[in-house]
């Protein structure tokens, strides 16, 4: 079945350093990949979505590129900000209407001054 493996647990960075959260997936077809961000006591929000035409999605300084050859969709940002501290989930969409989103276990990013 479909599955997502991502950077898990606690990730601690100093402000200004680059962010890299890994995400790899297994699927028998070409799925859509997503990154969601969840701040403390809030609902998850869609951060990025993969495109089918090799465009690189960007939002709030974050970007990710879907590499089908390596089944990866890593999240990157050149310079971490204090406000980036949150939970980050990689997710994969199944095929068909109403299909399941499979989430990774999440990475808690903490950015310190």
């Amino acid at each position: 079945g479909d599955s997502v493996t991502q950077t898990e647990g606690l990730v601690t960075l100093t402000e200004g350093l680059p962010v890299m959260l890994n995400c790899t997936y297994q699927s028998t077809y070409s799925p859509f990949l997503f990154w969601y961000v969840q701040h403390l006591n809030e609902a998850p929000k869609l951060l990025l979505k993969s495109f089918t035409d090799n465009k690189r999605p960007e939002h709030q300084g974050f970007h990710a590129t879907l590499h089908k050859s390596s089944s990866s969709f890593h999240l990157q940002k050149s310079s971490a900000q204090l406000s980036d501290s949150a939970l980050y989930y990689c997710a994969l969409s199944g095929q068909g209407t109403g299909s399941k989103l499979s989430f990774g276990k999440g990475a808690k990013l903490t950015v310190s001054p």
């Binding site: 609902a43 998850p44 989930y89 989103l101 999440g106």
Partner: protein
């Protein structure tokens, strides 16, 4: 623009008591709707989804049930709560392009 509303915002309930959580979406006709559960410190687990009124598919039941009585409404319920039901319940909707957008959530504490 679409808006998604969940009620109540938070609940404290006793073990064995019934529960009903609601979700309403405005500004989108015939959305796909989803229920998720998130344990404290845990990941997101999809529970149910619905692509049309009256039809609900179960992904993981956890002794819960769901119904879609109206096009814009999705209800999650149980007749008897367990301690393990505590957590954050999220409703989400999806347009045709597979991404899902979450409501603000309901925080449930079962004592």
């Amino acid at each position: 623009a679409q808006t998604i509303h969940q009620w109540p915002v938070a609940e404290i309930k006793a073990v064995g008591s019934p529960l009903s959580l609601g979700c309403t979406i405005k500004g989108k006709s015939s959305p796909n709707l989803y229920w998720y559960w998130q344990a404290t410190g845990g990941t997101l687990q999809q529970l149910f989804y619905s692509i049309t009124v009256g039809q609900v598919e179960s992904v993981v039941q956890l002794n819960l049930s769901a119904s879609r009585p109206k096009d814009d409404q999705f209800i999650l319920s149980t007749e008897k709560l367990l301690l393990s039901h505590s957590g954050f319940y999220l409703c989400a909707w999806s347009p045709a392009s597979y991404e899902q957008y979450f409501g603000p959530g309901t925080r449930l504490t079962v004592l």
